[in-house]
């Protein structure tokens, strides 16, 4: 039973990404949305937390914030809202780290 974890806050704004990353189990997936997309930026605090995790980032939220995809950590997948829906379907349940 795999879980989709949603994080919508920057790693500089509270502990949501940290808690999510340390609770995630093998097989779980992480989707960064809204201000959470900043967590996937290379060479930044969030990047270290994401090591070894299956990470997706919501493209429209990246674009809105002017972050080009080549500034993301290696291995992060960019998805659109349709991809977000697919991630919800592919996992058994969703944990929103609010």
């Amino acid at each position: 039973m795999a879980m989709l974890h949603l994080v919508n806050k920057s790693p500089f704004d509270g502990c949501n990404l940290n808690t999510a990353a340390t609770v995630m189990k093998g097989g779980d997936e992480l989707l960064l949305i809204e201000d959470g997309v900043y967590g996937a930026m290379k060479n930044s605090k969030g990047a270290a937390l994401l090591d070894g995790l299956k990470v997706s980032v919501l493209g429209p939220d990246l674009a809105a914030r002017g972050i080009p995809e080549d500034r993301l950590v290696d291995g992060a997948t960019v998805v659109d809202y349709a991809g977000f829906v697919d991630l919800v379907e592919a996992n058994d349940k969703v944990q929103s780290w609010l």
Binding site: L6, N8, I33, E34, D35, P60, D80, Y81, A82, F84, V85, D86, V88, E89, K93, V94, S96, L98
Partner: protein, 130 residues
Amino acid sequence: MKLTIQVNEGPYQHQSSDSAYNFTKAALEKGHEIFRVFFYHDGVNNGTRLTTPPQDDRNIVERWSALAKEHDLDMVVCVAAAQRRGIVDEGEAERNGKDATNIADGFRISGLGQLVEGAINSDRLVVFGD
């Protein structure tokens, strides 16, 4: 896939309502079923018809109403949260002695049981909040 969506924040203050709307729309476009959209905490403020946002930006309330109309969505505003924040329909106005109503089209006020029921009857609960 049958989905219940929970929206915890009001329009404009947070991106939650926007994200929930975009997600819900994408899910419908993919042919999934939305069992219910449940508005809780400040999310109930998505249900007021009295907003006048700037013309050059999205109208959050109206587009929820339009989506509900197009897809026959069940959009529920939690009664306890609505009473605290002043979202009122005819029934609530009468019960609580209010001299006005402000509920927007496509929204109905009902109890927290609707959220629980949504969680029981859906394949997934997706929560958007702060």
